[in-house]
């Protein structure tokens, strides 16, 4: 099924107050006192009512195993489950539905590629190239593979503003390079990398590229055909969907020749003690009973996002980003970590000499949820010579008033501890 038709940005106006009403969790008071200001979205996003209701409806009305049950409930579940796959396909604008593999999260998607494609294609003396701003999820699986195969992990350096060195990148692509692993948008810095150009550069030498879209997928519209990436992963829980469901997109011709990873039910065609034949894509990679309600819930999240329009969300968040960047610059002693020209929805910073954890504690007392620490990106922290940052990250339901609350909270932390 081809879905090459680009959906035009809906010319609807984006009403954030209306959007907020879709998220029941947002209306609570923290410790019974302060209105919740949720700015830990890069960690996980909150869920709209339609997603929550979809999960409840599944269990109340048609819970059943998929691909196995020959009865009324089973066919309803089957239908909803496979519809989920088509929704993801359309969301990523993938050419074929069987290019969408259900996994647990972005991390598992990368591990699957490393363990199957990697083991088949990477040998002694080969190189895997990743960037200096990767999440551990796009470092460790490759390190494990390199160790096993006697290959080397190479790193594309970045500048102090948090931008990749594209000249160095070209030089790092060698005849030994087997794969490039790139984060689309950095969770620690907010940098949005020019992946389309970087993919084209790698392809000139016939090198496939895996994109870690864990952060980008819920902030901007993705078109895997236009990007021409070979693999793309993201997690449902960051995309306003349930936890425990993630997506691995892979080009069909690559997935077809990859050996299966886990064995078991659903991924087979026939089994005997002499020989087992494997099922076709996408089932070849989906052993065992899947996360059925996760897939259906993710489908509901995608419907919700399509309703709002990814372009509208991106525009709303870009406005907030500009507003926040200006407002945070007024906080005394605040040092932004990551000042790339092209950056989205993440403010990562230090507040003078105050321990980021203390800043986080004080913001928490004010009802403001941020993340403090190293954001699963130790090498990024090492690059900047720091041990941690405070990170406030945006989603479609955040408001200017919440940025104001963050700024006030930081002023307070500064007065309190500075």
């Amino acid at each position: 099924m081809s879905t090459n038709t680009l959906t035009q940005p809906k010319k609807k106006t984006f009403d954030v107050e209306k959007v907020r009403k879709d998220f029941p969790i947002l209306s609570q008071l923290v410790r019974g006192k302060k209105p919740l200001v949720y700015l830990d979205n890069a960690n996980t996003t909150q869920k709209p009512k339609c997603v929550i209701n979809t999960l409840v409806r599944y269990y109340r009305e048609y819970n059943s195993n998929v691909h196995r049950a020959s009865h009324y409930l089973g066919s309803k579940a089957d239908h909803a489950y496979e519809k989920g796959r088509h929704k993801v396909q359309n969301f990523l604008k993938a050419r074929h539905f069987e290019e969408i593999i259900f996994v647990r999260n972005a991390t598992e998607g990368i591990n699957l590629v490393a363990q199957t494609w990697g083991r088949r294609n990477v040998d002694k003396g080969d190189e895997i190239l990743v960037s200096a701003m990767e999440h551990h999820a796009n470092i460790v699986p490759w390190q494990m593979l390199c160790e096993e195969r006697g290959a080397t992990l190479k790193v594309i350096p970045m500048s102090d503003s948090g931008e990749l060195d594209l000249e160095a990148y070209e030089k790092l692509l060698t005849p030994q390079t087997r794969l490039v692993g790139l984060v689309h948008m950095s969770n620690a810095l907010g940098t949005v990398n020019p992946i389309k150009e970087m993919i084209a550069t790698a392809h000139k030498q016939g090198i496939p590229v895996l994109i870690d879209g864990a952060q980008s997928a819920y902030h901007m519209s993705i078109d895997v055909q236009e990007l021409d990436c070979d693999f793309f992963v993201f997690s449902g829980h960051k995309l306003y969907g349930p936890t425990g469901i993630g997506i691995l997109y892979g080009k069909r011709e690559l997935l077809e020749v990859m050996p299966p990873w886990m064995g078991g039910g659903d991924m087979i065609l026939t089994v005997s003690f002499d020989k087992t034949t494997y099922n076709d894509l996408p089932f070849k990679f989906e052993a065992g009973t899947p996360h059925i309600e996760g897939v259906i819930g993710l489908g509901a999240a995608i419907d919700y996002l399509n309703g709002l329009g990814m372009e509208n969300i991106a525009k709303h968040e870009a406005e907030l980003m500009a507003y926040g960047t200006e407002a945070l610059a007024q906080v005394p002693d605040l040092k932004m970590i990551g000042t790339a020209k092209h950056k989205a929805s993440v403010f990562s910073f230090m507040l003078g000499e105050i321990h980021p954890q203390d800043v986080g504690t004080i913001l928490d007392m004010e009802g403001i949820a941020v993340r403090t620490g190293q954001h699963c990106a130790h090498p990024v922290m090492q690059h900047f010579g720091i041990s941690a940052t405070v990170r406030a990250s945006l989603a479609c339901y955040n408001t200017r008033a919440e940025i104001d609350a963050l700024v006030q909270g930081l002023h307070k932390a500064h007065r309190f501890m500075g």
């Binding site: 105050i354 321990h355 980021p356 954890q357 203390d358 504690t361 004080i362 007392m365 403090t372 620490g373 190293q374 041990s387 941690a388 307070k412 309190f416 501890m417």
Partner: protein
């Protein structure tokens, strides 16, 4: 030594009970941390560091004899002002007491009464829980 652990605990509970706003409670907590005897930098080694994910926490113990029984003197420190305040509370009801007294004292109960037990569950973040375990194991060794 003048006050028992229980008396110190009561003092802390009373002091904290004056504060209605979290700002005042945390301000006082941070002040408690500032009043800790300084821990010389040379003592901040890998060995004296307690596992905490984000903030660093250190403790060293010295056992000495007095009044016919042994007691444990502690030096503690953290690079986080709030965690330092929390461990100052541990220090107040641990340092200078006999190992058996340290082991018998209900520190979780005290933190709960001070309305600070939320920090215990954040152990991976702040190392407070590991600190309590470390002080207890130091007490076992000193007993």
């Amino acid at each position: 030594m003048s006050l028992t652990q229980q008396e110190k605990a009561e003092e802390l509970i009373e002091a904290f009970s004056f504060f209605e706003e979290w700002e005042d409670r945390y301000g006082y907590l941070i002040d408690l941390g500032k009043e800790l005897p300084a821990m010389p930098e040379v003592l901040k080694t890998e060995e004296s560091q307690v596992q905490g994910c984000q903030s660093k926490v250190w403790v060293v113990a010295k056992t000495s004899q007095g009044d016919g029984q042994s007691h444990i003197d502690l030096l503690v420190d953290s690079d986080s002002a709030i965690v330092k305040g929390l461990i100052a509370i541990l220090w107040q009801v641990s340092s200078g007491y006999a190992p058996q007294e340290i082991l018998a004292f209900d520190i979780e109960g005290l933190l709960k009464r001070l309305d600070l037990e939320e920090h215990l569950s954040m152990n991976r973040r702040n190392g407070l829980y590991s600190m309590i375990q470390r002080i207890r194991s130091l007490a076992v060794q000193g007993a």
